[in-house]
Symmetry: C2
Subunit: 147 residues, 2 copies
């Protein structure tokens, strides 16, 4: 990918807005993987195994879609799986899942703390959490601690 870009065109005056949008797009591209990793960790922790069909059902997608996503997880070095056997997380996958789970909790707690109803907090956190930077996450934690 991105091989031999002869002239990276440094854009001396890249608008701040453009940079922000770019980052937002990046975050979005990782969101799915994060969700899968978190769910797989959850399934492994509770049920003992993570099968593509279980994953698909929990995510509300077809099993084919889940399998394609799992393939991508493998490509990214986050999961391992052998045909007709369950899915497992690599070290990196575990780490990611733990981070995602922790962040999810903080986001939900923050929402609840500022008065968002439980149902909405769960729903909205699902989408928002992938865009919460470390700085923001830290601020959320501070706010929750010192209130």
């Amino acid at each position: 990918m991105l091989s031999a870009d002869p002239d990276p065109i440094v854009l001396p005056e890249e608008p701040a807005q453009a940079r922000r949008f770019g980052k937002t797009r990046d975050a979005q591209s990782h969101a799915l993987l994060e969700d899968y990793a978190e769910l797989i960790a959850d399934l492994l922790a509770t049920g003992g195994e993570a099968r593509p069909t279980d994953i698909a059902r929990r995510l509300g997608v077809s099993h084919a879609t889940a399998i394609k996503a799992i393939a991508r997880l493998k490509r990214e070095g986050l999961a391992t799986a052998r045909p007709y056997r369950g899915v497992f997380l690599t070290e990196a996958g575990e780490t990611l899942a733990a981070r995602v789970r922790a962040r999810h909790r903080v986001v939900v707690d923050l929402l609840r703390a500022v008065g968002v109803p439980a149902e909405a907090a769960e729903q909205d956190a699902e989408g928002m959490e992938h865009h919460v930077s470390d700085a923001t996450l830290a601020a959320f934690s501070r706010f929750l601690a010192g209130r």
Copy 2:
């Protein structure tokens, strides 16, 4: 044996998680349109006209990408544009843009209020705002008002 469960398909128990993920995917699919609508409204308000190239520059994408997105805006009834003339918003587009702008402001204010640094607040709001439901938005407003 089959007389026991004649309708195994009905899925009365769609996992709450599946529903949440589905909604999150929906929100994501509208996010781009919202960004474009908001930006076009901004350009029309300040500069007087919204040209594809301006839009592309502000968003950090190629002009071809911007033009494709504009085509989608037109398809969705949010914008109008004639070849080689500028882009304009329909009534629906204006309404959407106004709503998006207001929501963006509230989200940034909320983040600032709980201690998120300005830079991170702007950045993160860009991605988060598309997942903020009305209920959450209302809660944010209440929190900001009564603090």
